[in-house]
Symmetry: C2
Subunit: 400 residues, 2 copies
């Protein structure tokens, strides 16, 4: 069951999409909704713009009067309404954001007139509709403007405020169990012996789950024995999703897969042709009342981080109720030649220039090297069938 | 003082960099440090890896013995240490993450041996050092591995946990005053009259400030009169930075610039050749004990959002203590032909495909259209001297 990167991505999206339930909802204050997933339809309470609205500082006119010299009969500012009506040969000074006076159908920009007292001379023509926004242009009253499943960003929060909302219904965050495995790992606060290391994967996974919109539930380290592993996995399966790191490679003490199989797991894949991260398990455990998806991520820290970003993050996002789980890989120019062995899609820790115009590999000693990973702000993503790239060529990049 | 986009960016980075003080610090728990700016040097408490560490499941050998058949004398797992020493012709089974036994200098992968009881046959050669990570390869004890000014992401949090930290010193967030202006704006909770609109810019700015690492301080709307504007601006200048929206175009009631000038402001620029967002003010007000940078962003919601992202965000990031304020514009393929008037650098609300391979404009009715902005997840960024692009061409993209 070795999948290519693309097959594995498609599998995660498909299997998660097919199994997810609509999450429960909760109501949060507007500012707290940033980054959350909308759980309701939001419709326009009135037309947007709510009135024909000048897009310029200038003079409201009847377009048919132009070119010509018009008589200034008044002024209207944003937040006011011009009470009269504008007849042929007349104009009203208008500010950006102000409602168009009755009778007018265009705005001449203030820069384009010659003014002499109340005589406003306009030398150019305008079409009806120029320089103002028609009522309801952006959205008409009653239409749905925001849909369930949208991740709320700054524009969405502004839209919600525009329609008069100060709170909003969002989906509850899925609880994601985080279980590192390995006899060599000591928990926080303990001093490791020479041959031991501190738990770091639980931390990176917890941060990544949070960033993806989940609520991490960090469990103690599962030890490399059956009893400890089964206990942690059973505990983790109570959550909405289970993330394990380590214990999934070919090693004879890597018992995560065996325990999962004994618990009735269905495996969608157990290996993906990527680097870092080849041994990578994705599946589901079903019991009476629920199905819980799990990922067994490889235990080397760099592999844990990368495989979360490119696979598990999508599952957390979909379980959060998001209607999409994009993995945006744009392109930029290689700063230095690059050479790789073929056969795997590689995610190479790299650094984008400040403007993003170029990308360069950082010094990195493989998937155990967390320090190298901290110097990256992106990954170069290589195609598996290609061996070398020259400086100046375009390559795909995934933001870290 | 009309700047190009590039001139304005450079000006913001330069003037903010020259004026910022080192922020005060605070200590936060490790998980709360995600996204914060590190305020201390963090050094490796020991070598990383702390011991010569097998990168594979397999057999620890003396490389000089290969190819050949070796005698299996023991086993070492991650979290253990092999007590004996390995002599010529001998090998020890080893798991990924376990320390290399004394006397060995390479690891043969388990897939590459033929095993017959305690006789392990290895047909290929290996170089000394193959398949294990030398002690201190990634970082040697005592070297600085994380520096003040770094924004802490998942790899940094994992690194901090690796060296035994459960809390970390970060910079305090800068307080950024948010002041919308305009007589047409009603505050949250109030029903707008036909010719009025609700306050939405304060909300998008607050979300954007938070995302950039600042703490928004939202003030009431400044009205289009001198007294109200001066009161709000003076209040806002008490913060570390001041953000205004509206009141900065050529309109005769746009008094933000006049008030700022009367308060002794120095203006670095008052117009930028971009769309949306041409009227855009950046400067500093100095008084006895501090210098406060301010932005007067244009008041159309789309302009407020874009000008924050491309200019004000950098200032908030630098004031947060970050050592960089990148604006990553990578490239991807246009889905549809694109045509623009020349003269301005345009940020066009757009939508990236899920994999980021293509980008397409969303329907958008100009900078007053918040609804269109909610459908975008990115901006196409056009060069000012070019008029048209064909489908399939590469264009620059800024993530929303």
């Amino acid at each position: 069951m070795a999948f290519t990167f693309e097959q594995a991505r498609a599998c995660v999206l498909l299997e998660t999409g097919a199994r997810r339930a609509i999450p429960a909802t909760e109501t949060v204050a507007l500012l707290d909704a940033s980054g959350r997933i909308l759980a309701e339809n939001v419709s326009a309470d009135r037309d947007y713009p709510p009135f024909p609205r000048s897009a310029r500082d200038g003079f409201a006119v009847r377009a048919a009067d132009l070119p010509g010299t018009l008589r200034l009969i008044g002024e209207v500012r944003a937040g006011e309404v011009y009470s009269g009506s504008v007849g042929p040969g007349e104009t009203v000074e208008i500010m950006t954001g102000a409602p168009m006076p009755a009778g007018t159908d265009a705005v001449v920009m203030v820069e384009h007139v010659v003014r002499d007292g109340n005589c406003i001379q306009m030398q150019h023509t305008l079409a009806s509709g120029d320089n103002f926004n028609a009522q309801g242009l952006a959205a008409q009253a009653g239409v749905t403007i925001l849909f369930p499943g949208q991740r709320l960003g700054y524009a969405d929060i502004a839209m919600l405020a525009s329609v008069g909302r100060d709170s909003v219904q969002v989906y509850r965050k899925p609880r994601v169990a985080v279980v590192p495995t390995g006899d060599e790992i000591v928990e926080g606060g303990q001093q490791p012996a020479t041959y031991q290391i501190r738990n770091s994967n639980a931390w990176s996974m917890a941060v990544q789950v949070t960033r993806a919109g989940g609520e991490p539930v960090v469990l103690p380290v599962a030890r490399d024995n059956y009893a400890s592993t089964v206990a942690r996995i059973e505990e983790g399966l109570q959550c909405d999703m289970l993330l394990l790191s380590g214990g999934v490679s070919a090693g004879k003490y890597d018992i995560v897969e065996k325990v999962l199989a004994d618990l009735g797991a269905e495996f969608f894949f157990t290996r993906v042709l990527i680097q870092p991260g080849q041994p990578l398990v994705f599946g589901v455990v079903k019991n009476d009342h629920k199905q819980t998806l799990f990922f067994g991520l490889p235990g080397n820290p760099g592999s844990t981080m990368v495989t979360f970003e490119v696979f598990a993050r999508a599952a957390v996002e979909l379980l959060s109720g998001a209607n999409e789980a994009p993995l945006h890989m744009l392109q930029t120019r290689l700063w230095k030649d690059l050479r790789q062995k073929t056969g795997l899609t590689r995610f190479i820790p790299s650094r984008l220039s400040d403007d993003g115009a170029t990308v360069e590999q950082v010094g990195w000693h493989g998937s155990g090297d967390v320090s190298g990973m901290t110097r990256a702000n992106a990954f170069i993503v290589t195609e598996p069938n290609r061996e070398q790239w020259s400086a100046g060529e375009m390559v795909r990049v995934l933001m870290k």
